[in-house]
């Protein structure tokens, strides 16, 4: 229990230290507030504008969550297809990598043209950023399943589905969760990108509006909320991971490396 508390307390302490340094350097170097606002101003905005900021967080959070769920629900089966079929791997995987090199910010306006100003273009933007790490890590996890384990299962006359369910998927689970953790933070970015180009709501929209009006404290307040969303979602995925694969964290290294 004590170690759990300190696991949360340590980064919080460090964050407080950073905020103190931020405040101190603004005072020492006389940084004007139109370049960087003081922490206290940001906190004031957070409190004063809380109802509005909270309301703006909701669409961002929805787009992030929907994008993340889509990344997982489409990414993992896609990885499975890539691993189980050489043809799919040869045709699809390179295209996927290619699609990742296209800057999302550049094509995000297209989604607005296609899908309007609602939630859909933001979800798509979040999904496009979030899916890639899921696919890559799931492919890597599924490909590095111990071949002896596969022989073991085949030797029991297991069919493909049984091998996947009993051996491959659990073996690849740690890698898949690593990908999901990267994905969840990227989907936040994706949602904000979507709001940049086609937004009349959401934290991304707040960001852009406050930059336009030189309301730096508001802008920083939005950034703080975005970071918070990212951290909380990351922790949630980690928590699910602990529930889903308890053997992974608790098993000793020596077991995997063979006795």
């Amino acid at each position: 229990m004590i170690s759990r508390v300190s696991a949360v307390a340590k980064p919080v302490l460090f964050l407080l230290l950073l905020i103190a340094l931020w405040d101190l350097s603004i005072r020492v170097f006389h940084v004007p507030p139109y370049l960087i606002p003081a922490p206290l101003d940001v906190i004031q905005v957070l409190i004063a504008d809380w109802p509005d900021l909270f309301a703006q967080s909701v669409p961002t959070l929805s787009a992030t969550l929907l994008g993340f769920v889509a990344s997982a629900v489409i990414g993992i089966p896609l990885a499975l297809l890539i691993v189980s079929s050489k043809t799919v791997e040869d045709y699809v995987y390179p295209l996927l990598v290619f699609s990742q090199s296209v800057p999302k910010v550049a094509i995000a306006p297209l989604f607005v043209v296609w899908f309007g100003f609602g939630l859909v273009p933001k979800v798509i933007s979040a999904f496009l950023l979030g899916m890639f790490p899921v696919v890559v890590s799931a492919v890597q996890g599924l490909k590095s399943v111990d071949s002896d384990l596969l022989d073991l299962a085949r030797g029991m006359e297991a069919d493909r589905w049984q091998i996947f369910r009993m051996v491959s998927l659990p073996s690849a689970a740690p890698a898949i969760f690593a990908g999901l953790k990267v994905s969840v933070t990227l989907t936040v970015v994706g949602a904000v990108v979507g709001e940049f180009v086609g937004g009349n709501g959401g934290l991304g929209f707040v960001l852009q509006r406050s930059i336009g009006n030189f309301e730096l404290p508001t802008m920083f307040a939005a950034l703080v909320l975005l970071a918070l969303i990212g951290v909380v979602l990351f922790w949630l995925v980690e928590w699910v991971e602990k529930l889903a694969i308890p053997w992974h964290s608790s098993q000793q290294k020596s077991f995997n490396q063979g006795s």
Binding site: L149, R154, M156, A158, I245, H248
Partner: protein
């Protein structure tokens, strides 16, 4: 019909991008039902390959593999396999690991659950059914793997250096356990090992393989009485057999 395993002119060549790797020269071999046969040979000579052919995990390049008179073309239920590593799934308890073949083969759960418990008891693991694999020592893990190989009551036990990762003392205990299990169940056992004393101690017959591409170059009947005990390792006949087997490796170079 009393032949459990029969290989007739079986060859194996692995086809790789770097070219062909001939791994088995024509092998002829017949193992009777209830017989314990040990195979020794230098590293990389094709022992695991031979075992995988019998298990149906690999197709032969030539010749015919038969188990209980039926041609082997794919994995089949007449064998249980024990590998060098225990290969227990860490996300399953000891009991669920032992029950895995039952699940895979969709056999009646209740009936085989009893069998699984009986096997765990026979191998001294009664209290560990609900433990996780990593909570067990290496020797215990390997015993779980043996239970798993036996749970669906196959006639043949295929073992690929099952005790190679264990220390010498644990290994002797495991050899005794294996002999006891064999005496109680009458299983046919094909045991691949790097240890000449282990081969002579456990087997009715010791086969010696040559360097890759492997072929069976010698066969020794072990006429030590059963049940065997560790004192027999001091028996002059035991020492003489072990010496004869060892000569093959000195003329070939090394065992491992």
């Amino acid at each position: 019909m009393t032949t459990a395993i029969e290989l007739a002119g079986v060859t194996k060549t692995y086809r790789t991008k770097q070219g062909d790797v001939p791994s088995l020269r024509p092998v002829d071999l017949a193992i009777k039902r209830g017989e314990v046969v040990a195979i020794v040979g230098p590293s990389g000579c094709g022992k695991s390959t031979l075992l995988k052919l019998v298990a149906g995990l690999l197709p032969a390049s030539g010749g015919a593999v038969q188990v209980n008179g039926a041609a082997v073309t794919k994995p089949h239920r007449d064998v249980g396999i024990v590998f060098q590593q225990a290969l227990l799934l860490p996300w399953r308890s000891v009991l669920r690991n032992v029950m895995m073949p039952v699940e895979v083969k969709r056999l009646p759960e209740a009936e085989y659950l009893q069998r699984a418990h009986a096997l765990l008891k026979m191998t001294g693991l009664s209290g560990f059914a609900d433990k996780s694999p990593w909570q067990l020592s290496g020797g215990m893990q390997q015993r779980v793997a043996i239970c798993r190989a036996l749970v669906h009551d196959p006639e043949i036990l295929l073992m690929d250096e099952p005790f190679g990762a264990l220390d010498a003392l644990t290994r002797e205990t495991m050899n005794l356990d294996l002999l006891r299990i064999q005496a109680e169940t009458g299983k046919t056992i094909l045991l691949i090992t790097h240890s000449i004393p282990e081969a002579v101690f456990v087997a009715d017959r010791v086969l010696v393989m040559s360097e890759r591409p492997g072929a069976i170059v010698a066969s020794y009947e072990v006429d030590l009485p059963r049940p065997r005990n560790l004192d027999m390792m001091g028996d002059p006949r035991f020492a003489e057999l072990a010496r004869q087997v060892r000569t093959h490796f000195h003329t070939q170079g090394h065992l491992d």
